[in-house]
């Protein structure tokens, strides 16, 4: 079994902030119904995470595909965000037990489905949370990475004493 907490380096993320009235047009240009609730939508090798009203974070299996997003800058403010964030992958049978120590959100299957995303706090650090594979991703701003990593490791250690 691998590590329960893994730092993911170098994931490219592009922020899309739709200009006024452009939400639908943006979706059309991308060929996808962008989520209006806190959900994740996958389409054509791209993944769009809801990040607020009219705001999404995009990522892709092949990061170069994200370049295309900069062509739609008449409809949305587009900016690179990957360098500004650090992602941690929390997985394994204890993932929920670990995250219960940090996140004030219900991560049970019934409450936080596979396509859910949340903006929350973990150990006083602002995070975006979504599911990937059999685990969860926590994304924080880069400068907080050390503190969040420490908090995750502490939680993983504490999870040896289950609730």
């Amino acid at each position: 079994m691998g590590e329960a907490v893994v730092a993911l380096a170098g994931r490219r993320l592009v922020s899309l902030l739709a200009f006024r009235g452009c939400d639908a047009a943006l979706g059309q240009a991308l060929g996808v119904a962008l989520p209006v609730l806190a959900r994740v939508v996958d389409f054509g090798g791209m993944r769009y995470l809801w990040a607020g009203p009219g705001a999404w974070l995009a990522m892709a299996d092949d990061p170069a595909r994200l370049d295309a997003l900069f062509a739609i800058d008449a409809m949305a403010a587009v900016s690179e965000q990957g360098d500004g964030r650090c992602l941690f992958f929390v997985n394994g049978p204890q993932a929920r037990e670990i995250l219960a120590r940090l996140l004030p959100i219900d991560l049970s299957e019934s409450a936080f489905g596979p396509d859910f995303v949340a903006i929350s706090q973990a150990g006083h650090v602002g995070v975006m949370v979504w599911r990937e594979g059999d685990g969860f991703i926590l994304a924080c701003y880069r400068s907080f990475a050390g503190s969040l990593h420490h908090a995750l490791n502490e939680a993983a250690r504490a999870a040896n004493f289950p609730i």
Partner: protein, 941 residues
């Protein structure tokens, strides 16, 4: 002696004896004992001294309501004061101590307070320590604190670990007695996630104390039910949030205690069932606080849970039928029952039948008027129905004045308990959303046939109502006489219901006494926590260096490797200076400043807020949020921007660069980054939603390093690709360009200067941040390129007269800071109207000036006040204060920025800089705040 262990019975594990000590003396109990049960089994009756009068006290209860048997638990750094012996489970090697006694429990010098009791009556503190006022802090309070007070704080850092968890459930059941078990079972069978919390080690509640069998085996079969033992739900909060704490290892010796000591649980529950049971009321009579006076339910609990007979010969004093259960329990434990005293004129059949079965005499319409004995009960003085007084020898007086539903949690969100005459008890009133109440907590099945007996008229000064705070009937009467009869008043005036037990046993009796037969007043408001919670449990992992998160810049590791010392800037760690060969901060700063002024240096400026602003209306938006103009800023150029608050004062400053027709990059000060972002969102969403513009924080996406000094361009030229022209013509002052570094890394170069030298800020995607300083150092090695920290940065900005945190303090205007010329007259912007208020434009307002000592050497300290020479040194003659001060390596003497009444118009005057706190007193010359290169020729060259 009194108590003894029964040969059989109880829920203790007789196969596991437990050795422990109390006040240094060794005892033995069994696994499953509390400290109270184990000591009672060993014949111990005296557990502590009372708070005010240092009266001897024993065990009153068997639960969390205990007001008397409070001890210091464990020793050394783990010592915890005011631990309730009635709930704390013993373990091998436990060392507990009594508290509030000197020098010993049996012989306590401060029990002299008892003789002085008349002096310590209600309102004593308010009346006695009024005069002289100055004595309060220096004399009275320390004295009172030493004499009163409960246990001692460990005085050392808590060595234990704590953790916090978030739990979610559909139904939270609070209390694992019979009612709670039934509710949990029903809820779990209906589906959904159910959480059952109980404060004891095992489920069963009062039923186990009454010797009933409790079958909860079926609970284990329910996969959607989670049982949390040793878990107290202590508070109810908005939105279905409940606070709870689980004591994970408090019942274990330290060497067996792995993992956290306690766990704070934030429980989010759709519904909650409060099944917290009820708490028994004592009887109020003379010397009712003597060791050996015990709640009847507690007597049963010690017998049935712990197989301890708390005495040999008992008097039972009751006023309702249910307490009659105590009779067979005591008889079964081999205790003699000297008398059953029923406060009711007509005793119930339940009482008569039970007493008759064991041959105990019943005295109806009678009352115990006094407990006899000094260090423990030796008898009871009884007044018969005919008024005749007689005495009965006994070592236990079991009392029950009825039960109070444990409804505290129902009132945490302001629900008010209501009085129910039928059962003479408060029952839950309006409930927190989502909560229902079940069992005794709702008033069900308690106080059958009760006739309230709030107190036995005897000696009011020794008839205790609140044991923990030594509040007597006399205190209550006095409070009423003196006009402090209202519920909340009587609490403050007498201290009734304060301290760790929060009046769990005393308050309702007090209300009954205050009512004097009239309608009951309401209770005082209950607040969380229900029982004391260790601060450590609330802090969880957030202590010491982990008190709050830390933000590190992308160059942090590089700076660490250079031996940098760091300083806190909000959550950020910034390199403060880079000492070499034993330099102190000042020597390092002088070297770093000189290097920048004479050659070249680098400094991380990543922490400045960076906001990416895009949209068709981006210019219009900047026009609105900044006080100065933006329409004519060309693409590829940056400009200084001044932002006002709505009230006209300066909010923040920074630069903003135009990257494209619709695209700007705003920078903010480090301290205000989040605030400015919020402000922009507010301005957009609330004030100017007509503008089509969006913002994204890119502070963390880019690592940014300032390159400053006369050789900066030479270094930059080596850093960038050959085809990138960084000449003065191609990249003039306030120019901005996207370039590619020789390493193939894309970068943005901003020709900005905070230091006053020829300078650039170079931004690269943050993943290259750790490399950028190394590349710069290599490019400038032959110029002696020098890393500099915030000390040098701060000194250079003072030399340049740039306002920063100390000047942008929320109380200064653009005029105050010498920036009045920036206020545009050609547009509207946030703060425009209010900044024109006459008082804000008054030329006499304190304005930014420079100061230098007349003698050229006297230090000028920030915080010093300015006075006209010869004027009295008092507030009436205050002319302003020094905001920032430094020794200027460039000028070779101290300099300072100050906010001086009248401002820069007073250049050339001499002013007294007065700092009585640090013995500073010097004359200084008022000068232009721009000490260095006032024409700006260096940064434009």
């Amino acid at each position: 002696m009194s108590g003894r262990r029964l040969a059989t019975g109880g829920l203790i594990d007789r196969a596991r004896p437990v050795d422990f000590s109390f006040d240094g003396k060794a005892y033995q109990g069994f696994a499953g004992d509390t400290l109270a049960s184990a000591l009672l089994a060993n014949g111990v009756r005296l557990f502590g001294r009372s708070f005010k009068y240092h009266r001897p006290r024993g065990v009153l209860s068997d639960g969390v309501e205990e007001p008397n048997a409070l001890v210091e638990w464990r020793d050394g750094a783990r010592r915890e004061a005011n631990t309730r012996a009635t709930v704390a489970e013993i373990f091998p090697g436990l060392a507990a101590r009594s508290q509030n006694r000197f020098p010993s429990l049996k012989f306590d010098l401060l029990s002299v307070n008892n003789a002085l009791a008349p002096l310590f009556a209600a309102g004593f503190y308010y009346k006695t320590f009024m005069w002289p006022a100055s004595f309060w802090e220096r004399v009275y309070e320390p004295l009172i604190r030493r004499a009163a007070g409960l246990g001692r704080n460990a005085g050392l850092a808590d060595p234990d670990a704590y953790e916090a968890v978030n739990l979610f459930c559909d139904v939270l059941v609070i209390g694992g007695g019979k009612a709670g078990i039934a509710e949990a079972m029903a809820a779990a069978r209906a589906g959904g996630r159910v959480l059952l919390c109980d404060e004891r080690a095992g489920l069963g509640g009062q039923a186990l104390s009454d010797g009933e069998a409790v079958d909860n085996g079926a609970l284990a079969a329910l996969p959607n039910l989670r049982i949390m033992n040793r878990t107290t739900v202590f508070g109810v909060y908005d939105g279905g949030v409940y606070g709870a704490v689980t004591r994970l290892t408090d019942h274990l010796p330290v060497h067996e205690a792995a993992g956290p000591r306690q766990r704070y649980c934030r429980i989010m529950a759709t519904r909650a069932v409060l099944a917290s049971g009820a708490i028994e009321r004592p009887m109020v009579f003379a010397h009712n606080d003597r060791p050996g006076v015990m709640l009847a339910g507690a007597v049963r609990a010690y017998i049935h849970r712990y197989a301890v007979a708390p005495g040999a010969r008992a008097v039972l004093f009751l006023n309702h039928d249910e307490a009659a259960r105590t009779i067979p329990s005591m008889a079964g434990a081999g205790m003699a029952i000297a008398a059953v005293v029923d406060g009711r004129a007509a005793s119930g059949a339940a009482v008569h039948d039970a007493a008759k079965a064991v041959g105990a005499p019943v005295f109806a319409g009678a009352a115990v008027t006094r407990a006899l004995g000094r260090m423990g009960v030796t008898g009871a003085e009884i007044r018969g129905a005919d008024g005749g007084m007689f005495r009965v020898a006994c070592d236990i007086i079991a009392v029950s004045g009825g039960w109070n539903p444990a409804l505290h949690l129902t009132s945490h969100l302001d629900g008010k308990p209501v009085w129910d005459d039928k059962i003479a008890a408060f029952i839950p009133g309006s409930l927190p959303p989502g909560m229902v109440v079940a069992g005794a907590a709702a008033g069900a099945g308690i106080n059958e046939g009760i006739i309230p007996l709030w107190h036995v008229p005897s000696r009011p000064e020794t008839s205790f109502v609140d044991f923990q705070n030594d509040v007597t009937v006399k205190d209550l009467t006095l409070a009423q006489q003196e006009g402090f009869g209202a519920t909340e008043h009587v609490k403050r005036y007498t201290t009734l219901g304060m301290a760790t037990d929060q009046g769990k046993t005393g308050n309702v009796n007090a209300l009954g006494i205050m009512a004097g037969g009239c309608a009951m007043m309401g209770t005082t408001r209950f607040r969380p926590p229900y029982t004391p919670v260790a601060i450590g449990a609330l802090a969880g992992a957030h202590r010491g260096m982990r008190f709050r998160p830390v933000r590190l810049t992308p160059t942090h590791g590089w700076a660490e490797a250079q031996g940098a010392m760091f300083t806190d800037a909000g959550l950020w760690k910034r390199a403060q200076y880079f000492p070499q060969g034993g330099e102190d901060w000042r020597e390092a700063m002088v070297r770093e400043v000189s290097a920048v002024r004479q050659s070249v240096g680098i400094c991380d400026v990543t922490t400045l807020g960076k906001i990416d602003i895009q949209g068709p209306d981006a210019v219009a938006f900047l026009e609105f949020v900044y006080a100065n103009g933006w329409r004519n800023l060309a693409v590829g150029r940056a400009r200084y921007g001044l932002m006002l608050r709505e009230d006209g004062f300066v909010m923040d400053d920074g630069t903003c660069a135009r990257l494209g027709e619709w695209h700007f990059l705003m920078t903010t000060t480090t301290a205000n980054a989040a605030r400015v972002m919020q402000h922009l969102e507010f301005c957009h969403q609330v004030l100017r939603s007509d503008l089509d513009v969006r913002f994204a924080s890119v502070t963390e996406a880019w690592a940014q390093v300032a390159l400053a000094g006369p050789r900066a361009r030479d270094v930059l030229a080596r850093l960038v690709d050959d085809d990138a022209d960084v000449s003065n013509e191609a990249l003039p002052y306030m120019g901005v360009r996207a370039v590619r570094l020789r390493q193939g890394v894309p970068a943005r170069v901003f020709r900005l200067s905070f230091s006053g030298e020829l300078a650039y800020e170079i931004a690269v995607p943050a993943r290259f941040g750790a490399d950028l300083p190394a590349w710069l150092m290599a490019s400038g090695a032959d110029f002696g390129i020098t890393p500099y920290g915030t000390e040098a940065l701060g000194v250079m900005r003072i030399e340049k007269g740039h306002p920063a945190g100390a000047e942008l303090n929320g109380q200064t205007t653009a005029h105050d800071l010498g920036l009045g010329r920036l206020l545009s007259k050609a547009k509207d912007y946030v703060g425009r109207a209010m900044s024109q208020r006459p008082a804000l434009c008054d030329p006499a307002r304190p304005g930014l000036v420079g100061l230098q000592p007349l003698d050229g050497v006297s230090p000028l300290r920030a915080g010093s006040h300015m006075l006209r020479p010869g004027a009295p040194a008092n507030a009436a003659h205050d002319e302003g204060y020094v905001t920032s001060a430094a020794f200027s390596p460039t000028l070779g003497h101290p300099i300072a920025l100050a906010l001086l009444a009248g401002g820069v118009a007073r250049q050339g005057e001499t002013i007294r800089v007065y700092d009585p706190v640090r013995d500073g007193d010097a004359l200084a010359l008022v000068v232009n705040p721009v000490f260095y290169d006032p024409t700006g020729s260096r940064l434009r060259g």
